[in-house]
C-alpha cells in the first residue's frame, strides 16, 4: 500500500460518491443540531446560554414580526453600503493606478500589503475622534476594511493584463482613457470581482465590530445589548441573520465572478502577434 495519492474519482462512480458526500453533510448537520439541542440539558442554567432551536425561532418571529430590528437593519445596511462604496471605489482607483505602473507599484505596493495585515478596527478610535461617534466613524472602518482586498486584487489584476493586448491597443493609437476602459478593466474585472467579494465581507465585519464597541443603533450593538441582558435567543437571531446575509452576498458575488470570467475559458488561449 504505502503512501499514494488517492485516485481521482472515476466518472462512472461519481454519482455514487456525491450521494455519499451529501449524506455525510446531512448527517453532520443533524449531529450538530442534536448536540445544540441537548447542550442545554446538561446543566440547569446552560439552557439560558444555548437555547433550543424552537426558542430561537420564536424570538426570530417576534423580532422580525414586530419590526423591532428594522431601524438597526437599515442603519447597518446604510453604513456597510457606504463603507463598501467608498472603500471599494478608492481601492479600484488606487489598484488601477498602481497596477498599471510598475514604478508606482514597486514603491507603494509593499506598503499596501503591510497595511492590509493590520486589523482596521483599531483605527476606529481615530475615526471616532475625527468623524464623531455617529454613523460616519463606522463607515470609515468599513471603508478601510473594504479598501485593501479590493486595492490589492485590482493591482494584481491590472498588472497581469497580457502585454500583447496592451501593445495591440497602442498600435491602434487609443487614448489613455480608452486604454483603461477597454483593455485594462475588462481583463482585470475577474480579480476585481474576487477582491470585491472579500472586500464586502471585510466591510460587513468591520462595520459590525465597530458597532459592537460603540454605537447607538445597528445590528452589532443590538446583538451585544442582547448579550449583556442575557437575552441569548435574540442574540443568536441577530448573529444568525448577519451570517445568512453575508453568506448570500458572498454566494451572489461568486456567481458574478464566474459569469464575468466565463469568456476567459481556461486561460490557455495564446495571442498571436
Amino acid at each position: 500500500m504505502g503512501i499514494e495519492a488517492p485516485a481521482a474519482g472515476r466518472t462512472r462512480k461519481r454519482e455514487q460518491r456525491d450521494v455519499v458526500a451529501v449524506a455525510i453533510q446531512l448527517a453532520t448537520a443533524a449531529l450538530l443540531l442534536t448536540a445544540w439541542q441537548t447542550v442545554g440539558g446538561f446543566l440547569p442554567n446552560l439552557s439560558t446560554f444555548f437555547p433550543p432551536v424552537q426558542d430561537i425561532a420564536r424570538e426570530a418571529v417576534r423580532l422580525f414580526g414586530n419590526g423591532i430590528l428594522t431601524k438597526d437593519i437599515t442603519t447597518t445596511a446604510y453604513e456597510v453600503l457606504w463603507g463598501f462604496l467608498i472603500g471599494g471605489g478608492a481601492g479600484i482607483l488606487v489598484g488601477v493606478a498602481l497596477g498599471s505602473n510598475r514604478y508606482l507599484s514597486g514603491i507603494f505596493g509593499p506598503y499596501v500589503y503591510y497595511a492590509a495585515a493590520i486589523p482596521k478596527i483599531i483605527l476606529y478610535p481615530i475615526f471616532i475622534l475625527v468623524l464623531g461617534i455617529g454613523l460616519e466613524s463606522k463607515i470609515g472602518v468599513g471603508a478601510a476594511s473594504a479598501f485593501f482586498p479590493i486595492a490589492i486584487n485590482t493591482m494584481a489584476g491590472v498588472a497581469e493584463v497580457q502585454p500583447a493586448f496592451v501593445k495591440v491597443a497602442r498600435t491602434l493609437r487609443v487614448s489613455t482613457r480608452q486604454m483603461y476602459l477597454y483593455v485594462y478593466l475588462p481583463s482585470a474585472i475577474g480579480p476585481i470581482v474576487a477582491g470585491v467579494r472579500v472586500g464586502l465581507g471585510g466591510a460587513i465585519i468591520g462595520t459590525l465590530l465597530a458597532e459592537t464597541k460603540l454605537a447607538s443603533a445597528g445590528l452589532g450593538i443590538k446583538a451585544i445589548n442582547f448579550y449583556a441582558e442575557f437575552e441569548f435567543a435574540a442574540m443568536y437571531v441577530v448573529i444568525g441573520f448577519v451570517f445568512i446575509v453575508a453568506l448570500l452576498l458572498n454566494w451572489g458575488l461568486g456567481l458574478l465572478h464566474r459569469r464575468v470570467t466565463r469568456y476567459q475559458g481556461d486561460g490557455s488561449h495564446s495571442v498571436m502577434l
Partner: protein
Amino acid sequence: MTTRRGVIVGRILVIPLLLLAMEGVVAAGVFNELFVAPPSSFIPALGRNLVSGDLLPLTWITIRTVGMATVVCFSIGIPLGYLFWKVPVAQRAYEPMLGGLLAAPTILLYPVFLIFFGRTAGSIIALTTLGATVPVILNTRQALADVNPVLLRVGRSMRLTERQIFRHILLPAAVPVLFAGLRLGMIFILLAVVALEYIVGIGGLGFFISDMSFRFKTANLFAGITMVLILSVGLMYVLTRAQKAIR
C-alpha cells in the same frame, strides 16, 4: 538599472515623507492634536511606553496569544488537511462547508465564545482557531493533492519506506502551497487576536489601544497602532524567511 534603484529609493522615502505630511497636516490645524497625534508626539510616546510603560509586556501578551492560537490551529488544521487528502469522501463532503465558513463573518460569534470561555485569552484563541483552521485545512489538502503522483511512484519504485517517502518526497513538494495556507492562517490569527483584544478589552496590544482611546491619550493611541504595524510587518517578514529557509 536606474529604475530599480529609483524604486528602492522611492520605497525608502515613503515613510519619512508620510510622517512629514502627518506633521504638517496637524501643524496646519487641519486636525486637532487631540484627534490626530503628529509623529513628533507619538514617536516619543512610543519610546516612553516601551521603556517605562506597559507596552512591552502587553505586546508580549499579544504575541503569546498569537503563538498559542497558531499552535492550536496548526495542530488541528494540518492533520485534518492530511485526513481530507487521504479520505476523498471526507473532502467532498466537508470542503464546501469549510469554504462557506471562510466567507462567513465568524469573528462576530465572539459573544458565544465569551459565554463559553469567559473574558479570557481562551475565548480569543478558540475563536481565532475557528477562523484560521479553515485556510490551513484547505491549503494542506491542496498542497498534498498537487504533488505529482509520479514523484510518489518513483519513491515506491525505489522501495522507500512510508516515512522516507513522506519526509523526502511528499513534504518538500507540498511546502509552497502548504506555507501559503499557514501564512494566511497566521495573518488571520494576528488580525483576529488584536481585533478581539480591542473589542473585548482584554489581553495585550488591542486592550492598550482601546484603553488609550477611551482616555483620549491620542499620542499613546497612535504609538499602540504603530506597535501593531511593527508586529504584523515582523510576522510577515519572519514567515517569508521561514518559507525561503525550508526551500
